[in-house]
């Protein structure tokens, strides 16, 4: 049961689907996407559904700024009949001490240099943006009106449907068990549905990229870390912007459907493939969010879940060719913000994989930085 392909994409999240679509758009005839469960079953479908340009490093600012431009017209770009539920009502990032105020001003400087329309807001202005916010301890924040929300399932579905129309074969419930190598070249993948031979293979498999690398003796600095989220019952529109507090390690937005989606980063989380939800999270999340947004105490939690961040040492994604294995590429290590930069990542990876000069300085995102030590340490991650 050996088949052949021009490119194999591992992982059916938004990065994999966007990459497969862009590869087919470039004219590759036979692109096969392999997903071990269903589309968006991993980090994409478990994420907080936010999209923002307000980052602290140039790679993240540029990729998110340009991806949001694509999200603005994604349905048209992909010929999607449904809605990806994209809304731009901003992100309000909250500062609770002087150090954060300083970091935020530094971030604003970088963002303005890159044309991102973010601004400093006083506590009073925070109250205008989110009237139910508790001002206790708040020094102010930054706000970018172009940031917002997008439905990860729908956006992934849009890319997948468009990819299929261009001839991409999507194999769900199929696991890549190992990569196949021939000398210093990639030869294909072994899956639970047989071997697929291909001169190009890309891992868009999130934290599982590390295990795929290990199957051919390549060690990558990517670590899985569980992050948890809950959602409340839907209510009438009450909160426009997503609020984020790096001090509390939380974020919370009201999605277009009406529910409040909120998540929490736990610094003590063990780096492992644990996707179970915990009752401790629900208590901690509730305590923190009802301090910042007291009126939410009347809302009922209807569901909680967990997903994996694919963390790197500098919390910035790894994009590009894997040194020493020709034809093997990686788009992983997104450290919690892969969804919002996927549209541009898909384009970059397709360009690199067909041998074109990428529109973005790809070296910046590659493996080399871990050797040279020129890291892009992202300060603005929950």
């Amino acid at each position: 049961m050996t088949k052949t392909a021009d490119a194999v994409v591992i992982g059916g999240g938004i990065v994999g689907c966007a990459t497969a679509f862009e590869l087919a758009k470039k004219g590759l005839k036979k692109v096969v996407l392999v997903e071990k469960k269903y589309l968006a079953s991993g980090a994409t479908g478990r994420c907080g559904a936010g999209v923002r340009m307000q980052w602290g490093t140039e790679p993240n600012c540029v990729l998110s700024r340009d991806s949001i431009k694509i999200f603005e017209n994604l349905e048209e770009y992909l010929g999607y009949n449904g809605s990806i539920e994209f809304k731009q009502s901003g992100y309000l990032l909250l500062a609770y001490n002087e150090k954060m105020v300083e970091q935020f001003h530094k971030n604003l400087g970088l963002q303005h240099k890159l044309g991102i329309p973010s601004r400093w807001v006083t506590p009073e202005e925070c109250k205008e943006l989110v009237p139910h916010i508790n001002l206790q301890g708040l020094h102010g924040g930054t706000f970018c009106p172009k940031d917002g929300h997008c439905n990860p399932f729908k956006a992934t579905d849009a890319y997948a449907r468009a990819a299929e129309r261009l001839g991409v074969e999507i194999m769900t419930y199929t696991t890549v068990t190992k990569l196949l190598q021939d000398g210093d070249r990639i030869k294909g993948v072994e899956t639970t549905a047989g071997v697929i031979e291909s001169p190009r293979v890309i891992s868009c498999a999130g934290a599982y990229t590390r295990e795929l690398g290990r199957s051919i003796g390549v060690e990558m600095p990517i670590y899985p870390e569980r992050h948890q989220i809950l959602v409340t019952e839907p209510v009438a529109p009450k909160q426009g912007p997503m609020i984020m507090s790096f001090y509390h390690g939380i974020y919370c937005q009201q999605v277009p459907h009406g529910g409040f989606v909120m998540g929490l980063g736990d610094p003590h989380e063990v780096k492992d493939y644990d996707e179970d939800s915990s009752w401790q999270f629900m208590y901690e999340m509730a305590a923190k969010i009802t301090f910042i947004l007291p009126v939410l105490k009347e809302l009922r939690v209807v569901r909680q879940w967990a997903g994996l961040y694919d963390l790197t040492p500098d919390k910035t994604q790894i994009l590009g060719a894997v040194p020493g294995v020709e034809g093997f590429y990686v788009a992983a290590g997104f450290s919690g913000h892969g969804f919002m930069i996927a549209p541009v990542v898909g384009k970059i990876m397709a360009e690199v994989m067909v041998g074109e000069e990428p529109q973005y300085p790809i070296d910046m995102y590659g493996f080399k930085r871990f050797e040279s030590g020129n890291l892009y340490v992202e300060p603005s991650v929950v």
Binding site: A40, F153, M282, Y283, A286, T290, E298, R300, R303, Q304
Partner: protein, 99 residues
């Protein structure tokens, strides 16, 4: 939610939390979306306050009929906590020692 969002009187509501009809479910299944996990994510069935208690058995029956398989062979989705909706205020207070 105060306003009734009913789309039409002559339809069969399968998912009462999200106002999804039997006709919509059948349309998706006919178009090849026969995985309950996918239906859940595309239509929000089973994501409401009832946790799918009403709609999931009905939808599973539809998938089974379409696939020509017994109902017990249709995989279910993960059931996520909490079992019943709980107010954030109640959870926030639950962490205090004097409770």
């Amino acid at each position: 939610m105060s306003d009734c969002r009913c789309k039409d009187k002559d339809v069969n509501i399968v998912c009462r939390c999200e106002d999804i009809t039997l006709e919509e479910i059948r349309e998706y299944i006919k178009n090849g979306v026969t995985d309950l996990e996918q239906l859940k994510r595309l239509l929000r069935v089973g994501m409401g306050p009832c946790q799918g208690r009403t709609c999931i058995p009905l939808i599973v029956r539809e998938i089974a009929a379409y696939a020509g398989k017994p109902v017990e062979e249709i995989p279910l989705t993960t059931f996520r906590p909490p079992t019943v909706p709980v107010k954030l205020g109640v959870l926030a207070a639950g962490g205090e020692k004097d409770d």
